[in-house]
């Protein structure tokens, strides 16, 4: 051989194996060089690759391996020592790098593997989340649907609309084939088809309520799948129809009495309706859980809406009833008011109109009595006079009673001589009693005060009435009148438990007992005695006349005097005792009772009691005017007289302290003048005191005077003392309000 530094390959170059090796090496080199290129290319493309160092290392390893194989290509033929050297270097490097890589891969490969696991894990998680998202979305969907349905259901308070809307909306939301509502009948033993979705007017199918399938539905608060064959699901009449899945749910029907706070209705309610829902038969749809939930929610909402509607109906009905009652009551009240007004008008008119002719009759008859008459004529005239007096008394009684009931009667309190009252009664009754041969005795207790404060006239009327009754109903025997001061232990009588008199320092209770030995009264008649117009029908009393008003009026007077009156009798034929107690005042000073009516003593008795007092007198009648002027001049006043209302308004000034005006002349409006005077003098201290002079002091006149702002009213004719006391009262108090 030569001494070239060539290295002989181990194998002969022409060998086939050599050829294959040569080709394989070539391709390996190619592959080894292209792998890092690919790696680089794809890594560059990917955003994240954490192992760059590994890549470099791996790349170096691969490149060196490729280089090795590439260089190996030259070793198949004769090659120089350089090539061999390069080859060896490459191999050495390759060995180093590959060992390093192998060592490093021990660390790297588990990591890479775990990346894979993590990836798998994340994929699973993502799938799970997707599933959950799907669920939430369906739930939200359901919630939205049920809210919408609720809104639709609750937007109306009309029962039919509620139910119809429910069915329609449910049908739409769930794409139902048919939806029906079965309501329990009045008897509660059957369910009746009340509403359906598709059919307009459901014919009255009924189903007994105690079917097992129905019980099953009613006992559960959830929607229950039922068989399409059961009676409640067979709504369509056609036979070929094969419905899809059917679900039924109960709808609680709540009564008003079932409402309790914090109490779930299903504990207390007893009645249910049944809602049946059917899916379309041609689709293979099934009932999903969320749809069932929706149905349950809707059923509850419907229950609530229905009960609201029921409450509303109830309250509307009650309100209508109340309105009707109100109207009726209003009418009744107006009628009553009209009746009262009519009665008052009637009384006011009658008061005047009845008395006037009576006065005429009495006046004329008494005048007639003065003339020359034959005895028969005289007898007739006397009868007329007696009858008309009786009639006058009757009219007064009736009018008095009406005024008493009206509440307009007030007592005329004054100091009077009590003994004199009894004596007067005795004097009045003695003639009649002696005619009937009855013995009358009066017994006044020693501690009875001589003077008392009270209504003398009415007290006398009462005593007279009671004694008169005693005389009237006795045919023989005696009448005894006893009067004494009621002591506190006697004040409370067991027979009159509702009467609680309270004695005090200023008042005492006068007790009067009138005992007679007459016909007596049976116990059952006693309560009727004091009712007006009622009379006992015994023969003895039939001829005694009278209207039956006497005792009723007495009772009212006694009540006004804060007392009590009652009658005791042991029975028919045993006589009776009338007892009454009235409250009277005790006069303060002993010399006061000697003076007449007004409790205030006028300070100046002399004729010039009111020196220089400027007074205006308005009266159309010349004579009255002159008389009034004379009175006032006598009292020292400076009097201006006017005879008409225009003159009065012209003349009146703030210098006049008092204006007397006559208001009983028809046609001249004294009230009008009073109003104008009030308008003219706006300040109250400048305005003169206005006093009306009138012939009658009934309530209407008094009210009219008060209404127009008058300060007082005096009944004509006026005496000197009355005028004096009236003026002193007026000037002291600026208000009088009535002097009779």
């Amino acid at each position: 051989m030569d001494s070239c530094n060539c290295i002989e390959p181990q194998w002969p170059p022409d060998d086939l194996l050599m050829k294959y090796q040569y080709i394989s090496d070539f391709f390996i080199a190619l592959a080894y060089f292209s792998i890092p290129l690919e790696l680089i290319y794809f890594v560059k493309k990917s955003a994240v690759f954490p192992y760059r160092w590994v890549l470099v290392q791996f790349g170096a390893f691969i490149v060196l391996c490729g280089a090795t194989h590439l260089i190996n290509l030259w070793t198949f033929t004769m090659h120089t020592r350089t090539v061999a050297m390069v080859m060896t270097t490459a191999k050495v490097f390759t060995a180093v790098v590959s060992c390093a890589t192998a060592l490093m891969l021990v660390h790297i490969i588990p990591d890479l593997l775990s990346v894979k696991t993590r990836e798998l894990f994340l994929k699973n998680k993502a799938a799970e989340l997707d599933r959950e998202m799907g669920l939430i979305r369906t739930q939200e969907e359901t919630g939205r649907h049920s809210r919408m349905l609720t809104h639709e259901i609750r937007s109306t308070l009309d029962r039919h609309t509620i139910l119809k809307t429910t069915l329609v909306e449910l049908g739409r939301t769930l794409a139902l084939e048919e939806c029906a509502l079965w309501m329990p009948t009045r008897t509660g033993l059957e369910l009746q088809l009340s509403y359906t979705l598709r059919q307009q007017n459901p014919v009255g199918y009924t189903v007994p309520i105690h079917l097992p399938v129905i019980n099953q539905v009613f006992s559960s608060s959830h929607a229950v799948k039922i068989s399409p064959k059961c009676p409640v699901a067979r709504i369509r009449p056609a036979g070929k129809y094969m419905p899809g899945e059917v679900v039924a749910v109960r709808v609680p029907l709540l009564h008003l009495s079932n409402f309790q706070i914090n109490d779930w209705p299903e504990l207390s309610t007893k009645r249910y309706a049944l809602m049946v829902l059917m899916l379309p038969s041609d689709s293979a749809r099934q009932w999903h859980v969320h749809e069932l939930e929706l149905v349950e929610v809707v059923a509850d909402q419907v229950a609530v809406a229905l009960s609201h509607a029921a409450i509303l109906e109830e309250s509307m009905r009650a309100r209508d009833l109340l309105m009707e009652q109100n109207v009726a009551l209003d009418l009744a009240r107006r009628e009553a008011e009209t009746a009262i007004r009519a009665r008052n008008d009637f009384l006011a008119v009658m008061n005047h109109e009845m008395r006037t002719p009576m006065h005429a009759i009495i006046a004329l008859s008494s005048l007639l009595q003065e003339t020359e008459l034959t005895p028969e004529q005289r007898l007739m005239v006397e009868t007329i006079l007696k009858s008309s007096n009786l009639l006058s008394t009757l009219i007064n009684d009736v009018l008095d009673l009406s005024r008493l009931e009206d509440g307009s009667l007030q007592l005329d309190l004054g100091t009077f001589n009590l003994f004199a009252v009894f004596r007067e009664v005795l004097n009045l009754i003695k003639p009649i009693a002696s005619v009937k041969k009855l013995h009358v005795s009066l017994n006044l207790a020693p501690d009875l005060p001589e003077y008392a404060i009270g209504d003398e006239k009415r007290l006398m009327q009462t005593i007279l009435n009671v004694v008169g009754n005693a005389v009237k109903f006795s045919k023989e025997g005696s009448i005894s009148i006893t009067a004494f001061v009621a002591k506190s232990e006697l004040l409370r009588d067991s027979r009159t438990p509702e009467f609680f008199p309270v004695p005090s320092d200023n008042h005492f209770y006068l007790r009067v007992q009138v005992k007679d030995s007459g016909v007596g009264i049976s116990p059952q008649d006693i309560p009727k005695l004091f009712t007006k117009f009622a009379q006992t029908q015994s023969t003895a009393t039939r001829n005694s006349g009278g209207s039956g008003l006497g005792l009723a009026i007495c009772k009212r007077f006694v009540n006004l005097m804060e007392g009590h009156i009652w009658i005791e009798s042991e029975g028919l034929g045993k006589g009776c005792t009338a007892i009454f107690m009235v409250k009277l005042g005790i006069p303060e000073r002993l010399n006061e009772p000697k003076l007449p009516f007004m409790p205030k003593v006028p300070t100046n008795h002399g004729p010039t009691a009111f020196p220089g007092l400027k007074v205006l007198v308005m009266d159309e009648n010349g004579v009255s005017r002159m008389v009034t002027k004379g009175l006032l001049v006598h009292l020292g006043c400076d009097v201006t007289m006017v005879s008409s209302s225009e003159e009065c308004l012209r003349v009146v000034s703030h210098e006049h302290k008092v204006v007397f005006m006559d208001v009983c002349v028809p046609g001249m409006d004294g009230y009008e003048v009073a109003i104008r005077i009030n308008e003219k003098f706006t300040k109250r201290h400048e305005r003169p005191i206005i006093v009306a002079l009138t012939g009658n002091t009934d309530k209407v006149t008094k009210e009219n005077c008060m209404r127009v702002g008058m300060d007082g009213i005096i009944l004509k004719p006026v005496s000197l003392d009355k005028m004096r006391s009236v003026l002193s009262d007026l000037l002291e108090h600026r208000v009088l309000f009535e002097a009779i």
Partner: protein, 185 residues
């Protein structure tokens, strides 16, 4: 003095008879009380005014009732009301009663009744007028007599002492009868 006493007695009797017969009532007494030195003839003035008024009203009513076309009862009622007012102010009781009776007839629009009442009313009124005029004459007479006596006393002071007692008695009697003592200067 006997004459004076008789006169006084006649005055007292007369005025009490007026009351007794019901021609005048309490109001008249009140009017008498109003007479004093400032208005010594008050009652007479009032009475004359009343007589004038009364006559006028009675005439009006008579004319109204004579009307052939139709009696105006409203006017009659107004007149009656006036008359009633006047008579009650002066205290003429019988006139007032007659007015009341008259009013019922006029209210019933009964012409015959009204005519009868008017007649009665005129009768009462004349009676009252006569009596009152007599009364005034007596009272005036007694007062004149009193004045004469006093003047006589004053003029004849030096004569036998005229019993002041008598004058005093006379004063007392006049006052008791309801008259008033005229001032003699």
């Amino acid at each position: 003095m006997d004459f004076v006493n008789q006169l006084q007695r006649k005055f007292i009797d007369y005025s009490s008879s007026l009351h007794r017969e019901g021609i005048v009532d309490d109001q008249f007494t009140q009017l008498r009380k109003l007479e004093d030195e400032n208005s010594p003839h008050f009652v007479m003035e009032v009475a004359s005014l009343f007589f004038e008024d009364c006559e006028k009203l009675i005439n009006n009513m008579a004319i109204a009732l004579e009307q052939k076309q139709g009696v105006d009862f409203k006017q009659i009622e107004e007149c009656i009301h006036q008359l009633k007012g006047s008579s009650s102010s002066i205290g003429a009781m019988r006139v007032k009663n007659a007015c009341i009776a008259f009013r019922s007839f006029s209210g019933a629009q009964n012409r015959e009744g009204c005519l009868r009442c008017l007649q009665q009313l005129s009768h009462e009124y004349s009676l009252l007028k006569n009596k009152l005029q007599t009364l005034f004459r007596v009272s005036v007479a007694s007062r004149c007599l009193y004045v004469c006596l006093v003047i006589f006393c004053r003029e004849n002071e030096h004569a036998e002492p005229f019993p002041d007692v008598l004058v005093f008695q006379l004063e007392k009697q006049i006052v008791a009868a309801g008259g008033s003592i005229p001032r003699v200067h």
